[in-house]
């Protein structure tokens, strides 16, 4: 349970994250109930950034577990320090320790390497635990995660059960590349994160790039909003918008109508596949720029 104040939305905006009402409420509820929050949405809508911002406003540590195919317990939970163990065994050759004592020694806390999940439950102050792209992990790992998320304890055969000293604020993100199990979904609060609307996107650009001119920022936001409606393989996210805005500033472009050639070349910041670059031809760019200006 946390002491977070109800104005989480304004606190998030103070650290540069502009959440809508639904997302802010879901976050607040997750903090109040001590339940994990599952965030789904397209890549690039700012799911990972929420965890960073939350850690920032709660003034606590962010512990991140990046999921991938084949993620196993030794990368996610804990691992023994084998090099140290081997050295210790060698060093004990001339000591009086018997085999049982030696075994107990090398499988003690001092030889344990904490990985993100174990690290997260052993903090003095509740950290934010970000389990990123859970859909990339295997189903077996997802099943294991269920136990940790409901009991907040981890069993190490050699040491016994380690209970959480503090309950972390857990944020899970998924890009929807595979269906998550109902059991995992039921343990979490849920929020679907969409691309920001025009106003929010403009706020983000102005907050992240304080030196940008308001007119250009408005044009960029409108251009990107219109671009997302085109048929694209990879729709540009907010990170791409910020990259593009920064690129335009560095190219000294003051209006999207000014320099069509430079504008077209700068689209590599927004469009990340060959077919997308091909489909947004100069004519399309100038039409979108004209509408945005």
């Amino acid at each position: 349970m946390t002491n977070a104040t109800p104005d989480i939305k304004s606190r998030l905006s103070d650290v540069g994250y502009f959440a809508n009402d639904g997302l802010a409420t879901a976050l607040q509820l997750a903090l109040n109930l001590g339940r994990p929050l599952l965030l789904e949405g397209e890549a690039g809508v700012g799911k990972t950034e929420i965890a960073k911002s939350l850690a920032s406003i709660l003034d606590t540590k962010l512990i991140r577990l990046q999921c991938y195919e084949g993620l196993d317990a030794s990368s996610a939970i804990y691992e023994w320090n084998y090099q140290r163990q081997l050295l210790s065994i060698k060093a004990s050759e001339f000591s009086d320790r018997d085999a049982t004592e030696l075994e107990e020694h090398i499988f003690s806390e001092s030889f344990l390497l904490e990985r993100p999940l174990l690290q997260a439950i052993r903090q003095d102050k509740s950290p934010v635990l970000l389990i990123d792209e859970i859909d990339r992990a295997d189903m077996e790992f997802e099943a294991y995660l269920l136990e940790i998320l409901s009991e907040f304890q981890i069993t190490v055969p050699e040491l016994g059960t380690i209970k959480a000293t503090t309950i972390p604020h857990v944020i899970l993100t998924s890009n929807g590349t595979r269906e998550l199990s109902d059991a995992l979904r039921r343990r979490c609060l849920y929020s679907y994160v969409s691309f920001p609307d025009l106003e929010r996107e403009l706020e983000i650009i102005l907050a992240r790039l304080p030196n940008i001119e308001a007119t250009l920022a408005g044009q960029i936001a409108r251009f990107v909003q219109a671009l997302r409606k085109e048929e694209l393989e990879k729709v540009p996210g907010i990170a791409e918008t910020l990259d593009w805005a920064a690129a335009l500033c560095s190219l000294n472009i003051r209006s999207l109508r000014d320099e069509p050639v430079k504008l077209q070349s700068s689209l590599i910041c927004l469009l990340k596949t060959e077919s997308d670059l091909h489909s947004i031809a100069a004519e399309v760019t100038s039409r979108l720029a004209g509408e945005a200006a």
Partner: protein, 389 residues
């Protein structure tokens, strides 16, 4: 938690029941959390309470999208709606109401007993002794058959068993990093250390980790156009078997449109599954536009469905009315995301048949495995090929 006497408690319990009736997976723990953390602390501000309930009571994008409507219908007086229940209850529709377009895709018992030969333009079918042999049946008789009656326990069981066998044949694929690795296994340091304590820590007896195996994901596209009507019944059984037996399967039917049927087919009750399928079939009929259908798939589902462990299986005779180039373009997109592309063509079982349609010719270079599939036996025969994929 709030007591039952709280004015909002009964209403909220009713709302949770309302969500359940509309297919939301809301359990007692969500109900308890809702009552204790939302109703007890309600601000009277509808927007805030709505947002809180939405975060607490939804679990996936579909629920997220439909929540607003259900919330409004319940709390703002539009009344309860039970749309989904209406759709899935078999008793709500009679055979008379079933779409005619589908009836051609299923045989019937009577016709099956008669077992006439295929009325083909290209020749007679090879291997006619097969138990799952495909037949051309009398049009008039077939038109009278209720779609749901096509379910025959024996054939379903045989098709399901075969589906499971084929899926098992391509069940696991090693991760690329292990597959490419020259080393046969990875050292299990934890066990090695324990085992070699007796040797003073010198690693003499080594333990190895088993190679992790990842299940493949099977995506099936089944052509249910007019030209495939004799085969649809058989293939549908096979696809149903695959969907029911194999967790990681996604199934689509296509004609001039694409319909995702994995959810409907995963219903273990075959009768109900077929009723759901017939409800989805409305509007189908005419030729095959595989190119258009695959474009829909690539736009809406590919990102979520395909990955490096996906095997895409297309059951079609390749009689495409769309542009072959368009089909190629979409197949290339699928190939970029999926591991393998398998095309099963029932017409290959005919004597003298050559896949010479423009669409088939255009697609062939992109297909990893092209095989005949017109009987259970012929499908079973591809098992060894699938194992190599």
């Amino acid at each position: 938690m709030q007591t039952l006497s709280h004015p909002l408690t009964t209403r909220t319990v009713g709302f949770i029941e309302h969500l359940r009736m509309n297919g939301f997976a809301v359990g007692p723990s969500e109900s308890e959390a809702c009552l204790s953390h939302i109703i007890g602390k309600t601000t009277g501000e509808r927007g805030l309470d709505h947002d809180r309930m939405k975060a607490l009571l939804t679990g996936c994008k579909e629920e997220w999208d439909s929540f607003d409507k259900l919330f409004e219908s319940y709390w703002i007086g539009a009344g309860k709606s039970r749309e989904r229940m209406k759709k899935t209850t078999p008793s709500t529709r009679t055979s008379k109401n079933l779409p005619q377009a589908w009836k051609n895709h299923f045989g019937d018992d009577e016709a099956a007993e008669k077992a006439p030969q295929i009325e083909s333009e290209g020749g007679t079918e090879v291997g006619e002794t097969a138990s799952g042999r495909l037949i051309a049946v009398d049009q008039n008789t077939r038109m009278k058959i209720d779609l749901r009656q096509f379910v025959e326990p024996d054939e379903i069981a045989a098709a399901e068993a075969l589906a499971y066998r084929l899926a098992s044949a391509i069940r696991y694929r090693l991760s690329r990093r292990f597959y490419n690795s020259r080393k046969t296994t990875r050292l299990d340091m934890r066990r090695t250390i324990r085992r070699n304590m007796k040797h003073g820590g010198t690693p003499i007896d080594l333990s190895f980790k088993a190679k992790p195996q990842q299940p493949v994901r099977i995506i099936v596209f089944l052509d249910v156009s007019g030209s495939m009507q004799h085969y649809s019944r058989f293939f549908l059984q096979f696809v149903k078997g695959l969907v029911c037996q194999w967790a990681q399967t996604d199934a689509y039917l296509f004609h001039t449109k694409l319909v995702r049927v994995a959810d409907a087919m995963s219903d273990k009750n075959s009768f109900r599954a077929m009723t759901r399928l017939s409800l989805m079939a409305e509007g189908f009929g005419g030729g095959t536009k595989l190119g258009d259908c695959l474009e829909t798939f690539n736009r809406q589902y590919a990102k979520k469905t395909l990955n490096g462990r996906s095997i895409v299986m297309i059951f079609s005779d390749g009689y495409e009315v769309g542009e072959p180039d368009r089909l190629c373009e979409q197949l290339v997109k699928i190939k970029k995301r999926a591991r393998r592309l398998v095309w099963l063509n029932p017409l290959l079982g005919w004597q003298n048949y050559q896949p010479i349609t423009a669409a088939m010719n255009a697609a062939k270079p992109l297909v990893d495995h092209f095989a005949v599939a017109n009987t259970l036996q012929s499908l079973a025969a591809i098992e060894t090929d699938l194992m190599k994929l």
